[in-house]
Symmetry: C2
Subunit: 554 residues, 2 copies
């Protein structure tokens, strides 16, 4: 029997199923923040809704609340002043386990229907969430809107579509008739029930709390699991708003809202570890450091663990017909959100004897200069620069910039940019340092933030060899190549497929290597140390449910 | 571009895809050992082929061979005298890594085509393999033929079908066109390549070397991984023959045979652990003890680990319209292959105040007696008994029988049955002991072998409560219910779905709770401690490959 919310959103789901099958462009949630799309006054209303949450207890009631916790401070220099329930985990999980019963029994169409309705409502709250993402991650508003709103919702819907695509293939029942020679066949009827694994735990990050959080949240929820959301202490509000909306939908649909709960906590405590080792937790979705991700993979044996961790993203410059366009594209990739993206490039390999371009040979220094000038040009106007850069999310990024300055000759120093509205925001342009292929000890680890290295190599062959090895040993989410030589392109494809990293070739237009589009790009491969899973594919959802059968003769 | 072996077996694959979708009865490999099916002389030729392997070095050449290892002894009392290469693991893996290159590049249709051809040839070797299974596992011949031959091949094909079903959904390429308002859309072409995880390790067991080994072997191979097969030291020959056939197919298809290799080893050494922790190994399929399975889950972090471990299988007797039929069915399940099946029932719960039957109320003792008499009747004729019981696989089973005798009042003692042809075989009828619901410390662990307990409970409600708790805490592959009460059946279904175990209801005919049919029954649920995976579902295959993409503007 179908569920009304499933029927309501059936057309969206069907279109999403088509999208994951053909992987062309599709997005149901408009990325344009225009009033023509989201309605007159939507932006203002969303901002007002966000501001109304500030300086107050966040309106969510959870089992086991034993106090309040808070302390988020906007990278733009404002204390949010929001507090959340601090929960006793034993009592919280008692409530979750209670809530699981009805949810577990509801079946795939109800699970998926509730997810689709929640995503539709989250989409309507895009402006509120955008402000919350901006003032926790430090992203500039338009990026916070797009990446934290519709693009994150796309990733959530993608996970729901994959989950449904796997679950729908389990028949509800089967008739089994085994021939017995001349005798009557043995006849049985079998029934197959999709059951969830248990409780899913989503561990959020501070830079993309919704974009990285929604795939795991909706993949687990759509397969019948309860979900405990543990946001980063510095970026709790976007996920708190999300959880609140999902709980409202659950309640209206007749379910216990504790199917989805929030565990806010203070920075530096051991809440994540405690949650991860709870026996009820059978699925964990994590985005964050390699140290924490590896800890989960090694210790949370009771759970299936999906991690996205650190990596070393690389650009190989071999040759180009349009060096200025290469420089513009790379400059934007380095600058966007101050390089605080898991997909942002860090190492740019250029042969030390230069490259071929349409205008003839360009030396290593000329190529490096084109890139640094590209950055300067992009960020020359402070008013425009702050909309590209956003703000530095945390102190660690500033420290890292300082440390990186001593790694080698500085091609372009990081400089502070004043924000016209938010004077307290720490805003930095990228630091670009020159290194040599032999400096692997410096460039073969992740320098998260606006830190890039232009690295002189003996040849493109060496660039490819270094890139292959770096992906295999240190992980990567992206690899980028610029080459006009079809043989080099083929070799780079071989390297990417061997090392297991997504490759972008000759990006000189309006697509950047940091960008990954739902329904089309697999974000991460799960095939190198930067991530053990991809967003989203069948492997990301298929282990989140099990099938239990019963059979009898007929 | 398709592969000739893929095209050759396309119809079989398509039919298998239909079978996993509707999960009705289907088998491409006939379970009848009749000459009408397998050809005149096939049985004799297979036996001769088996006998020709005895007392000799097994004909397989492997990288890193540094000596020979052997020592299999048939449970029917014959030393097989077969020796296998003992390999240096570093050198073996150097060969495997070398072999991987061409295999990895060949793509899904070649991987699947080679698997399908290998399965077809394995099917033709069913009689040879049946003899090898019989003389390693101790199964009687007909069971060794069916379970070790066609039924195992079914399970292998099922895994290939699931693997293909997941891989075929990844488009080779996509065109991505993102609208840009009034401007030209951004156009990209994207290419998606399915790549394997690395090396799969299959750790075989001594009781069902092929049936439990083929799913992992073929799931990993069909997704492009190299596979290292590590058989149980007591049951190496069936998998050695299998590996030899797969290597022949690989060679004929132009691949390096070291895509599939064999690591035979001496009992009690640490070969399994050493293999499991090798960095090249990214997939492990294990069947065996909970201690070893849990060790793998906790230590082999570099790999995705699929385990089938110990459990406590249970029968709940509530009421019946045909007590003799219940007794016959249960008796056969207890006796088949001397209870040495991961699916064999162990605990039989009967209310202490008896049950309702078509002939009126029957006391606990009458129900227990019906079962013990069912066993006696089934096994009364020694010539027939040995064909049901097979032989005890190892000394541990005999020791366990001795130990179990002191657990409570013996309802039916295990007795030795002489084998007319194999006087040295240890053949035992089931031991049936009476216990009380309060004796959980005795019956709530696995007593692998022909050991069953008839357990007096306060009521069917208590039986269900014990069963639920036992599955959740100790795991189970099967649960069986006998009841004429629709409400009890519904409650048992609830228990099964909550605890995550397959339920068989009122089996009184030719189907037994120990039997699990490929393409229809999910073997194991992955939802309780007895197994972390099911044979076979999408979750069993989806994580065995990854997708690597490249994209560029068009």
């Amino acid at each position: 029997m179908s569920h009304p919310l499933f029927e309501k959103h059936r057309a969206t789901l069907d279109r999403a199923l088509q999208a994951i099958a053909d992987r062309g462009y599709w997005s149901p949630y408009p990325e344009s923040a225009s009033p023509k799309v989201y309605g007159e006054g939507a932006a203002e209303a969303g901002k007002a809704a966000y501001e109304a949450t500030l300086g107050k207890p966040f309106p969510i009631e959870l089992p086991g609340a034993v106090g309040r916790v808070g302390g988020e401070r906007s990278p733009y220099g404002i204390d949010l002043g929001v507090t959340y329930p601090k929960v006793d985990l034993d009592r919280l999980f008692a409530g979750v386990v209670e809530a699981q019963r009805g949810w577990r029994a509801a079946g795939p169409e109800a699970w998926v229907g509730v997810c689709l309705e929640a995503l539709a409502r989250i989409n309507r709250a895009s402006f509120e969430i955008a402000n919350a993402v901006m003032h926790t991650s430090g992203q500039a508003f338009m990026m916070a809107f797009q990446a934290g709103g519709p693009h994150a919702q796309d990733r959530g819907l993608e996970a729901v579509a994959y989950a449904w695509d796997e679950m729908r293939r389990i028949p509800a029942s089967a008739r089994w008739e085994k021939p017995q020679g001349k005798g009557d066949p043995i006849r049985m009827e079998k029934h197959f029930r999709v059951v969830p694994r248990g409780v899913g735990l989503v561990i959020g990050c501070s830079t993309f709390p919704t974009w990285n959080g929604y795939p795991g949240l909706f993949a687990s929820l759509a397969t019948g699991n309860a979900v405990v959301v543990k946001p980063h202490p510095g970026a709790t509000l976007p996920l708190a708003i999300t959880v609140k909306i999902v709980r409202e939908v659950l309640t209206e649909a007749g379910f216990d809202p504790n199917v989805v709960t929030l565990v806010a906590h203070a920075a530096g405590d051991d809440t994540a570890q405690k949650l991860a080792l709870r026996p009820e937790v059978r699925l964990i979705d994590f985005t964050g450091s390699s140290a924490n991700g590896n800890w989960l993979e090694e210790h949370a044996h009771q759970a299936q663990v999906y991690t996205e961790k650190a990596g070393v993203n690389q650009v190989i410059v071999d040759s180009t017909s349009d060096l200025p366009a290469v420089a513009r594209n790379v400059a934007f990739s380095l600058s966007l959100y101050t390089g605080q993206m898991c997909t942002a490039p860090q190492n740019i390999y250029v042969p030390r004897d230069g490259i071929a371009t349409a205008e003839g040979r360009r030396s290593f220094d000329e190529v490096a200069k084109a890139i640094t000038e590209g950055v300067q040009k992009l960020l020359g106007d402070p008013a425009r620069a702050v909309e590209v850069l956003g703000a530095v999310q945390n102190r660690g990024v500033l420290d890292r910039i300082d440390k990186a300055r001593s790694l080698g000759p500085i091609l372009l120093d990081a400089t502070a940019v004043p924000h016209p509205q938010y004077p307290q925001a720490a805003i930095r342009t990228p630091l670009i340092v020159k290194l040599d292929a032999g400096d692997g000890d410096k460039y073969l680890s992740e320098w998260f933030g606006p830190i890039a290295f232009v690295i002189a190599t003996d040849s493109t062959d060496q660039s490819l060899a270094i890139a292959r090895d770096a992906v295999k040993r240190h992980g990567a989410l992206t690899l980028s190549l610029y080459s006009t030589d079809a043989k080099v392109v083929d070799r780079a494809i071989d390297v990417a497929e061997d090392a297991g990293v997504a490759l972008s070739i000759n990006l000189t237009g309006g697509v950047f290597v940091n960008q990954s589009a739902a329904f089309s790009d697999f974000h991460g491969t799960g095939a190198n140390p930067a991530a053990n899973a991809a967003l989203t594919d069948a492997a990301f959802v298929a282990s989140r449910f099990r099938v239990v059968q019963h059979r009898r003769h007929v």
